[in-house]
Symmetry: C2
Subunit: 385 residues, 2 copies
């Protein structure tokens, strides 16, 4: 493995009876902003529990964070935070609410002009309001990392940022709240976590057996638990296993000392920005296409993945790689997640637009070993037409 640094200070509280601990985790006397999304926390009981836990604190509410949260919405929260001199933010909901909160918390103390530069120009975040999270939807892993992805409505752009100042102080993980999710959102969570692992695992061998096996552990668990959660999101034990899998998928651990790819995400973000397709579904479209193009370059890990995760042990290397790609796409489809662009009404003109954008941004060598050139991106998406 390569040299690495690892640090993850997030305090995790997992399970049924954890909400009561929130009050002791926020400094007494703090003015708190409670940020949430489209209102699911009113249906799953989390709103009432949070309000109960925040008794004694002055609380300002800010609802309406969208899936693929917008810069524009986030900046409205920033304005209120400054006006009301908010000290601490509590995010309650899924990955979008938490990602928006990370941006809001950084933007609220940003002193270098328009905070959009954090996203568009990779301006370093140098401070943040402290915040905690209450997670009701397993998927992105944002509850235990320093990353965030924000979209800009006016320009249909979508960018990520990452900062050591953007770790939640704590995250309360609630599998029971996730039990009231619609099945398609639960399925999105499974695929999102799955592809997060793949981006860190399916590159090339570097003799890092612990990291490889941890990655495979998460993948196998998602393959086992995903269908159970898709059949019945209220299956508490399976939802718990999915939620912990999704957290472990992107908390930095399986990334230690190994190369990453992340070009599936870079391409997928464009499909969300241009067509509003759910993040996880964009990943399910792009991944099989990218593997079809880079099957030679990624053969070492594709064969290992096929064998250890899908138990593919017979056939030529070519056949085993085909089977690994097919099993993966079939798994996504079995969760109701379509893997073809035509399933979403996306055509060649979108592929052209994405390739042009990458060229304009000089994104000429994305991902693992810079293999994902604009031409590879084109071919990968054309495989999925």
């Amino acid at each position: 493995m390569k040299d690495f640094e690892f640090h993850n200070p997030v305090k995790i509280f997992f399970g049924k009876e954890q909400m009561v601990k929130i009050s002791s985790l926020i400094p007494a006397g703090n003015k708190v902003m409670l940020i949430y999304g489209g209102g699911s926390i009113f249906k799953n009981g989390v709103y009432d529990k949070v309000k109960e836990a925040l008794k004694g604190f002055s609380v300002t509410e800010f609802g309406g964070i969208e899936p693929n949260p917008y810069y524009e919405t986030s900046m409205k929260a920033v304005k209120i935070i400054k006006e009301e001199k908010i000290d601490f933010i509590l995010a309650a909901g899924g990955g979008s609410v938490i990602d928006a909160t990370k941006f809001i918390a950084a933007a609220a103390v940003y002193e270098n002009g328009d905070p959009w530069k954090i996203l568009s120009e990779n301006e370093a975040v140098k401070a943040s309001l402290p915040f905690g999270t209450v997670l009701t939807l397993p998927a992105t892993g944002t509850e235990m990392n320093k990353n965030s992805v924000i979209s800009r409505k006016s320009t249909t752009e979508k960018f990520a940022f990452s900062s050591p100042y953007s770790y939640p102080q704590f995250s309360v993980l609630l599998p029971d709240a996730a039990g009231s999710l619609p099945r398609n959102q639960a399925a999105n969570g499974v695929v999102d976590a799955f592809v997060h692992v793949i981006e860190q695992y399916l590159t090339y061998p570097v003799n890092a057996p612990i990291q490889d096996r941890f990655a495979e552990a998460i993948l196998i668990t998602l393959i086992e638990e995903g269908p159970k959660v898709y059949a019945n999101p209220a299956d508490y034990e399976s939802m718990s296993n999915l939620m912990w899998s999704a957290t472990m998928a992107l908390n930095g651990l399986i990334m230690c000392g190994v190369p990453g790819d992340w070009s599936v995400h870079s391409i997928g973000h464009e499909l969300t920005a241009l067509h509003g397709i759910d993040h996880a579904r964009t990943l399910a479209i792009v991944l099989p296409g990218l593997w079809k193009v880079l099957r030679e370059e990624k053969s070492g890990k594709l064969l290992q993945y096929g064998q250890r995760v899908w138990n593919i042990t017979s056939g030529s290397e070519e056949e085993r790689i085909n089977a690994a790609i097919e099993k993966t796409a079939d798994f996504f489809e079995s969760l109701g997640i379509k893997t073809r662009l035509s399933d979403y009404g996306v055509k060649q003109d979108t592929i052209d637009k994405i390739v042009r954008r990458f060229e304009e941004r000089k994104w000429l060598a994305l991902g693992d070993r810079g293999l994902t050139t604009p031409e590879v991106t084109r071919k990968a998406l054309e495989f999925q037409l």
Copy 2:
């Protein structure tokens, strides 16, 4: 799985070129105590590198920490720390040096009389001097946890303590320094890490598939890498994989939401206290014996372990459990670690003494589900005579 909390704030720096970062991790102007053991850091080059990294700091050295570090030695360091008003401790060495440092750091600011009470009476640690570590020996995982084990020479007692104040601020992990270890110490590290995993994994099934597979990932990696490191500790890649395995074995992660046992350790500590047997070797003696006694109660996990870790898939349940126990003991023996009490000259009188101690301390139901009664301890040790 069960509800759980997880928090591990230790900053990890892993690999060859990490030592230079130390100076930026200790507050400027701090008076530093450098603690080390029997002098191996002079042979493996770590001493020179640490001194180079600490240029500009006032450094007081305290060497001579023993394997199974003594309370008595630790208290000498505490006296110097108070006299010299030390602000920060840097531990350089293996698990014993780091464990001693955790106790010294807590004892230096303990205000409730004799710090021995932290160990003998489980008095809560409420503060600690800050400290960092430089790890040169993979084994105990203490570099990334809040635990410590200390012995008292005058009473031949050995106790553990654990405190959220006892996390290192940072740990620099140096597989190359470990390359100069004697083979038997490398083997000790493999077995120590192996049994740490077993204590958290081999209890009873609670539907925690991520935790189980992470545990199995570490065990399989130790089985693969252990013999390579035993053959040649200077094999950098294998030593790296062993070192990261040992850290992951006991940093709280695989313990999330699952029951623990730890009675192998409780029994093993007595063998060290009474006969000075290396910690890892005591674990290698006790574990097979305990499994022979508790084979029924632990059958679910013993069968899973046999199948997933050792690929034991044929035979009756009884035969598969026998094979799992045998493979484990054979693995220890293959690393030159003897698993019988007679190999160490220990006889029935020691067993009687340990059982009597447990009874006197009212340790009547140790471990997983309280299964390890004094009578079970007696039988387990008698199996290994």
